[in-house]
Amino acid sequence: MEPLRTVESRTVVLPAANIDTDQIIPARFLKVTDKQGLGKALFSDWRYDGEGKPRADFVLNRPEAAGARVLVAGDNFGCGSSREHAPWALVDAGFRAVVSTKIADIFRNNALKNGLLPVVVDPATHARLLAAPGATVSIDVEAQTLTLPDGSRASFPLDAFSRYCLLNGVDELGFLLAQRPAIDAFESRR
């Protein structure tokens, strides 16, 4: 995993609340056995019509969305299934942070393991971001702050261990493998 220290980018805004993982990537794209190239299926049913043609009015199809690394979404983003294909698709499409007022538990866990930063901000900051699509924001992982174009800052929670892993590009599996003696001891005392 690449270290993630800061994200500076224009935002893409999807204001709908409760965007579920079936919208992020529909189940018919889950029949893969690797994780590459899923970005093209991101929000597929919103991006393309029944004939597979891009919907011109969908935000990700607009030129200003190109290169955006920050997705701002309505409350309770990522609810639904445990498919890690959802963060894989977002990362493959270039996103490095998702900002909302609430992010579903399993999606958040999966995002953190793929260098995608879940940013939960207060409702006032969220409202400002929703009202200003395309605004350039700056996110500092170490300081746990999101800075708006006018310089005002909002802080967000981030577990100390997740922060360490993101900043250093550390995979959690290595940490768990190093717990082997403790796991052996646990198994033998049960």
């Binding site: 609340a17 579920d20 079936d22 309770n76 609810c79 639904g80 445990s82 999966n110 599996l173 796991i183």
Partner: protein
Amino acid sequence: MSPRTLFEKVWDGHVVRPDTAETPAVLYIDLHLVHEVTSPQAFSVLREGGLPVRRPDRTVATMDHSTPTLPRRADGSWPWADPQAEAQVSKLTRNCQEFGVELHALGQPTQGIVHVVGPELGHTQPGMTVVCGDSHTATHGAFGALAFGIGTSEVGHVLATQCLLQRKPRTLAVRVEGALGPGVTAKDLVLAIIAKLGVGGGTGHVIEYLGPAVRALSMEGRMTLCNMAIEAGARAGMVAPDEVTFSYLAGKPRAPRGEAWEKALAAWRQLPSDEGASYDREVTIDASAIEPMITWGTNPGMAIPVTGTVPSPAAAAEADRPALEGALRYMGLAPGRPILGQPVDVVFIGSCTNSRIEDLRAAAAVLAGRKVKVRSLVVPGSVAVKAQAEAEGLDRVFRDAGAEWREAGCSMCIAMNGDHIERGQYCVSTSNRNFEGRQGAGGRTLLASPATAAAAAVAGAVADPRRMGAV
């Protein structure tokens, strides 16, 4: 020791290393269930790192999401939806062989939906920690296990170390007072609970379902209740084990036997929450006020009684209006109209929520001696459920009514195996998610109980199962 909840007892018993300010707890996993969709990339990580599966004896695989529900062809081959589905299932077979993992494969009498097979074989037991790369792992909490869904990276962690890094979740008690009325089921109860909590209301929490209406449920009903905890945002739902649990488990192939059974029983009896144990939040529901429920919108919290009316955005708080309007537009429903009589095109009875024997009996009770007016698919949760249903003659009831009686699998709940609805169609479904496109791109799902789904099949429209003999 101060009084502890069921959740706290199970958690405490599995901490390999407690959490600190810097690191999460290392939590031991007793049972790891695996299926074809969320595991291939995890096995690849093991292969790349030269790692074995640490505890193949605690790892059990089955195939369910991408598998066909039509029978084998005359030449013995399976009617795969596409080569990708077949390749994904073959990959699981090869991974299980290479890493020594037990597999309940397609064609075997033990195959089925992972959350149906685990309990019916006795793999799932009270007090265990159970995980699977599937959000409906919450189902297994019906046994007083701590069971939750994980992503593929974490599937790799458990395969390699039998452990997960976890921060302790908060607890939410859902007390269900009173008794459910005739024709009102666990599915109606859980839809009413989600409508009350909201689809994000349980985020960060483990739910414990308590109260007389929960105690009165069978294991099948408790599984339905826990299965949909995730639809309220809670990672896990739990019901304390009792005599109902123990008699379900007794004699199951993987349940303990003899002296080990007695020892296990003694330990399981210690699991229920202590008198005076406290929860971070508590919610109370009156079971007697619940009617058969059905969803009208695009998430499982958008549910109303079958006798109710489709909500009107004009009557909602301003902040909620866009979501209501969006859902009504997608569903093609008019606000303020009764949902009863809404025409439907397809009925699906199945999924990890409602494909167990009791669910099929409830559907058959409504369908007996009647004919379906629309395409109706009945998909048992496992080969064993299918065999039992056939032994009871339920398959005859379904076939005589004009419904399709299929092989076991996830089928039209997630529409990965070729079973799907068409754009614009309405489907009354006993599954767990009415998200846009869940049952097929552009399809419209109305979630309900097996009795309500069967009633809709007979009427060709949303109907009240209590008027068709549902009990």
